[in-house]
């Protein structure tokens, strides 16, 4: 399998090239299946690597291909590394990626620009694989920026619409703000350790004293990158806007994979973060605030994709809290389960939108469960999983995050637990509004309601199965089953495990499960009563008052950014162009000319107004000077 390692990213790259160059000459179905098969190929090789690593904890597959950059002491290889962390990411990316590719074949079937879509999707998978395969921070950064580019291209896939293009641009630029932090973090790593390759960096970092300031600086700078990529406060507003892209893109890029790159980065660098408790504290707080705020906003959204988008931001906040509390494997666990159920939810939403002829507003849906039985059932599973109902996947990972938060600080636990309840509320609200009650769309839409084709429903079913059983890879202690993921990841997080604080008591676990069940039941009952029995439909935004209005408008964060950064930057640019550039600097320069002109008009007799003459005079004068110097 080691010899095939390079094929993992290269296969999707080939798919990109074929679809990109072949473009309109390839029949639509062929380009979709070609793209899907390349990802399947990568998945198979990744699975082979996984089996290999499973048997031997010490195995790390490393391959250096060529020297990439060099200058003096700086020497960087273009190389890949597969350890237990990256192999899990590989499986998630290629596995979920493959399902979403297949789904897209059905979803995009009405799209004329089919090959371009699959080319971008393949390119995204390529960069995402480079991100997790790279053996150095620079290579991670290659993937990091590359997925940002693909996200830009796919959000603006329907480029006729300038609003979509604005959303795409916003995503790219906000990510770039984070990327600058990442870059500076890399420079500091190089300055401190003389290398950017993981093995060297981590080996030397573990020798540094605990809480060393430079480690705090490095980890914070890198985390700025994660804030942009994983849509944390304050750089999160691009993610909801990113829903402008085709829905499978939202599922793959803006839920399952790309946005978890920040989490992957911190887990990968856990050696650094363990040694920097101050940074970890900040990370935990950022995650917590993001989780709460996004969940609150999610309560008042009426666009089916926007609700899911805010829930993604919120769930990423959960993962970041796990990182901040030093529970790196737990964060990864939630990355995995979230990839399953959030991809599922988005794909279901896509199926709904597909059936509704492009409609995304839940106020015009309702009662869809009869027309879309498969979508309805799988969406319900996704909802149960994200709400944390046992035994669905989300329950186990969220439970672990909560337990770790409790060890860290009971207050943090309390806030996070409330956020988990809010999650259940907005998700069941969404579920009931969409699938229950009476249909609120147009007659035309009603006549056209149909269940999606098999290419779409089969991926839904597979993801639903994964969302149901995916959590069993991380059983809590009370079930007396081995925690597969913790055991598997031990070689990667050895240092973190050594530093990790205590355990929660079994009693706490039992109470947590019991309370979860009771609260969930209450949430289901209340949302059902409000949205189904009473038939409540959310009001139009303009009718909202007070805090509801603030929530529906997303705390006015976009407006704040516009007023504080975007608009001042434009105005300042225009004004300084007018006043400083043309009005000051250029005036000064020109005034030299004017003064010279004034003087020279007095010396007109020596002037012919002919530039050739000036040139001649200049050369002559130079000669004269030289001769003069020679004489002395």
């Amino acid at each position: 399998m080691n010899n095939l390692l390079w094929l993992i990213p290269v296969l999707p790259l080939l798919g990109f090239l074929i679809n990109g160059i072949g473009n309109k000459h390839i029949p639509p179905a062929a380009s979709g299946w070609l793209a899907s098969l390349t990802v399947l190929g990568s998945f198979i090789i990744s699975a082979g690597l996984f089996m290999q690593l499973l048997h031997d904890p010490a195995t790390v597959v490393q391959a250096d291909y060529f020297q990439w950059m060099n200058a003096g002491a700086f020497d960087l290889n273009f190389g890949f590394l597969v350890d237990r962390l990256s192999v899990i990411m590989l499986l998630v990316i290629t596995g979920v990626g493959f399902l979403i590719h297949v789904y897209s074949i059905g979803y995009m079937s009405h799209e004329p620009d089919y090959a371009r879509y699959f080319a971008y999707l393949n390119l995204f998978v390529f960069f995402m694989l480079v991100l997790v395969l790279g053996s150095s921070y620079v290579l991670m950064f290659v993937g990091w920026e590359g997925v940002g580019l693909c996200s830009y291209l796919l959000i603006g896939f329907w480029f006729k619409n300038q609003n979509y293009n604005d959303a795409a641009k916003k995503a790219f630029i906000m990510n770039r703000i984070g990327d600058l932090g990442f870059l500076l973090g890399m420079f500091l790593i190089f300055q401190t350790f003389g290398s950017l390759e993981y093995d060297t960096v981590f080996a030397s970092a573990s020798l540094l004293p605990f809480n060393e300031p430079v480690l705090t600086a490095i980890t914070l700078l890198l985390f700025i990158g994660a804030i942009g990529k994983s849509a944390q406060l304050p750089l999160y507003t691009w993610l909801p806007d990113a829903m402008a892209g085709p829905t499978p893109v939202s599922a793959l890029i803006h839920a399952a994979t790309m946005v978890t790159a920040g989490i992957y980065m911190v887990v990968r660098s856990n050696v650094l973060y363990v040694m920097a408790p101050f940074s970890s504290e900040i990370i935990a707080v950022v995650g917590l605030v993001t989780a709460v705020m996004a969940a609150l906003i999610g309560l008042k959204q009426t666009d089916i994709k926007k609700v899911l988008a805010y829930s993604t931001v919120s769930q990423l906040g959960f993962m970041v809290v796990a990182l901040g509390t030093g529970a790196y494997t737990t964060a990864l666990f939630h990355v995995i389960t979230h990839a399953f159920f959030k991809a599922l939810l988005f794909l279901c939403a896509g199926s709904v939108i597909h059936a509704m002829g492009g409609e995304q507003d839940v106020r015009r849906m309702g009662g869809l469960k009869k027309a879309l039985p498969v979508t309805h059932f799988t969406f319900l599973i996704g909802t149960l999983a994200i709400a944390g109902a046992p035994p669905f996947a989300g329950f186990f990972s969220k439970d672990e995050i909560l337990a770790n938060a409790y060890i860290h600080s009971p207050l943090m636990f309390a806030v996070l637990a409330i956020t988990a309840i809010i999650t259940a509320v907005y998700m069941f609200r969404l579920y009931f509004l969409t699938f229950h009650g009476t249909f609120r769309g147009t007659m035309h839409q009603k006549d056209h309601l149909h269940e999606s084709p098999a290419t779409m429903t089969v991926p839904l079913i597979i993801l639903a199965v994964l969302s149901t059983i995916g959590g069993f890879i991380g059983m809590p202690e009370i079930f007396h089953a081995p925690h597969f993921l913790n055991d598997f990841m031990r070689p990667v997080t050895a240092l973190a495990d050594a530093y990790k604080g205590g355990h929660v008591s079994h009693m706490f676990e039992y109470i947590l499960i019991g309370v979860t069940l009771v609260i969930l039941a209450a949430v289901v009952y209340l949302t059902h009563k409000k949205y189904v029995t009473d038939g409540h439909v959310p009001a139009r935004d303009s009718d909202l008052v007070g805090i509801q209005r603030v929530l529906a408008n997303k705390f006015y964060v976009d407006e704040f950014f516009n007023a504080v950064f975007t608009r001042p930057m434009d105005v300042l640019s225009r004004l300084s162009y007018k006043w400083i550039e043309l009005g000051l600097i250029d005036k000064i320069v020109n005034s030299f000319g004017t003064v010279t002109n004034g003087t020279s008009s007095m010396l007109r007799f020596s002037q012919q107004g002919n530039l050739g003459y000036y040139l001649f005079a200049m050369v002559f004068a130079i000669m004269l000077m030289l001769v003069y110097m020679l004489v002395i």
Binding site: W68, M69, L149, L183, L572, E581, G593
Partner: protein, 480 residues
């Protein structure tokens, strides 16, 4: 090396129709490129100055025809000889009046540039330096656009006054050499000037180079000149000519007046970094695409200059690499602007939109060149920018942070421009947009391929310049 440009100047006079003249010019410029590639294959990176030619010119003044190439010089020669064919090729499918003179002047320019990059004699360097100004001045003056007389005059006088200060500096150095005096760069190396002498010599040289590059606030000739010059002129200016200034710092300042450089480099970095932010802001305010590229160019070369003045190997290596990348990308971007101008008759971006509907290859090529220019990894721009910022970071983290804003600003104005020009609903302009010709497609394709190849595998070029840069740093023996 000099033979082919001279041959070019003669050959283009012999032919009568514009098509065959352009083809002959392209062919001859490709011969120059082949010659350079042959030199590259012969070159030993660790071997110091090679291909040496030394012949007295004015013996009793100590002036010689001394040419030679170390790794840096060779890279600059490669840049020149690789870009000139692209620049000539970009004129295919365009009506050019008085084409004989046009191509002759381009070859004269190439000749002068090669001289600048290979001279190892101060006086010779100065002669070529000034010689390079003449053809480009004529190109701008005779083939330029709106308000060309005033603008080219300003350009000419501005850069000339800078160069005169450099001449004073060179003559001063000459007079300090022992015995019968000499302009040879080696005798300049051996001078042991004191701090005070080097300090004012710094300003004499810096004035010339800073205006040429241009470094903020000596840049105001640049946007006007770039905008008004014909496309090939702008490409020559931004692709190659401004690198004369950057090259000059590496060759004639670092090793010759290291104490002066080390004394003032903080100020040079400050100006350069201010320029990055300032001209990025200017680029954001532009409505004319060509002018926008002109300002973005100031930001990019500002970063290169800052990297050089970091006085460490990372910054210098990045600077040399970014000179190549910037040259390629600038030619690409100005060609894009030429395609637009040729078809739209109006460069204002607000008047465009939706062009991606009409020409897919154009949209892809533009995107790749844009990505190179905003330094996306796996494009050429990333290699240079990464090393430059890293070099700057080891001088001062805060300065690197401010310089790093180029990463964000670049994305802002470039993506905005792309959105305004290429994206959006179909418009009248996009419906009537004539598809790219074969030649245009090929040129954009070549540039895109170079951008990606040099971004994925920069090693061969880095290896050529590396040892020479290290030698220059050792010779200078200072740090900031």
């Amino acid at each position: 090396m000099f033979l082919f440009p001279i041959l070019g100047m003669l050959v283009v006079r012999l032919l009568s129709d514009s098509k065959s003249t352009a083809r002959a010019a392209l062919l001859l410029s490709l011969v120059s490129l082949a010659d350079t590639i042959w030199k590259l294959s012969m070159f030993n990176p660790a071997g110091g100055v090679q291909f040496l030619f030394d012949q007295y010119w004015v013996e009793n003044l100590g002036i010689s025809f001394k040419f030679g190439l170390d790794g840096v010089g060779l890279i600059m020669v490669l840049l020149t000889n690789a870009l000139v064919p692209l620049i000539i090729y970009s004129s295919f499918d365009r009506e050019i009046k008085d084409f004989k003179n046009y191509f002759s002047l381009i070859f004269l320019m190439q000749f002068a540039l090669l001289g600048v990059f290979s001279s190892l004699d101060g006086f010779l360097f100065y002669v070529f330096w000034e010689l390079a100004l003449i053809p480009i001045w004529f190109i701008c003056l005779l083939w330029g656009g709106h308000d060309r007389v005033r603008i080219t005059l300003k350009f000419f006088i501005y850069t000339l006054s800078g160069s005169l200060l450099m001449l004073v500096g060179l003559i001063y150095l000459y007079l300090q050499t022992p015995g019968t005096h000499s302009f040879d760069i080696n005798s300049f190396y051996e001078l042991a000037l004191n701090q005070e002498q080097q300090s004012w010599l710094f300003w004499a040289f810096f004035a010339a180079f800073a205006i040429k590059i241009p470094i903020f606030p000596f840049h105001t000739w640049q946007p006007d000149t770039y905008t008004t010059a014909p496309t090939q002129g702008t490409m020559l200016l931004s692709g190659i000519m401004l690198k004369m200034g950057l090259y000059g710092i590496i060759r004639w300042m670092l090793p010759v007046i290291p104490l002066g450089v080390s004394e003032w480099s903080w100020l040079a970095i400050l100006l350069a970094v201010t320029g990055i932010i300032y001209s990025s802001a200017m680029a954001i305010a532009q409505k004319d695409f060509k002018r926008l590229i002109a300002y973005s160019s100031i930001a990019h070369v500002g970063l290169i200059a800052a990297g050089i003045f970091s006085l460490n190997i990372m910054g210098l290596q990045g600077a040399v690499y970014q000179m190549i990348s910037h040259g390629v990308n600038a030619v690409g971007l100005f060609f894009i602007s030429d395609i637009l101008l040729h078809r739209m008759k109006d460069r204002t971006m607000n008047e465009m939109g939706g062009l991606a509907h009409s020409s897919r290859p154009f949209a892809i090529g533009f995107m790749i060149i844009l990505l190179g220019s905003i330094a996306l990894p796996l494009t050429n721009g990333f290699i240079g920018e990464f090393m430059l910022l890293s070099g700057l970071f080891s001088v001062n983290a805060w300065v690197a942070m401010f310089a790093g804003l180029i990463v964000i600003f670049g994305a802002v104005y470039m993506l905005r421009a792309y959105q305004k020009i290429m994206l959006g609903a179909e418009t009248e302009a996009s419906a009537s947009f004539i598809p790219l010709t074969i030649n245009e497609k090929v040129l954009i394709g070549i540039i895109s391929i170079i951008i990606i190849i040099t971004g994925v595998y920069p090693k061969p070029l880095l290896d050529i310049a590396g040892p020479s840069l290290q030698a220059i740093l050792n010779q200078a023996g200072v740090s900031i």
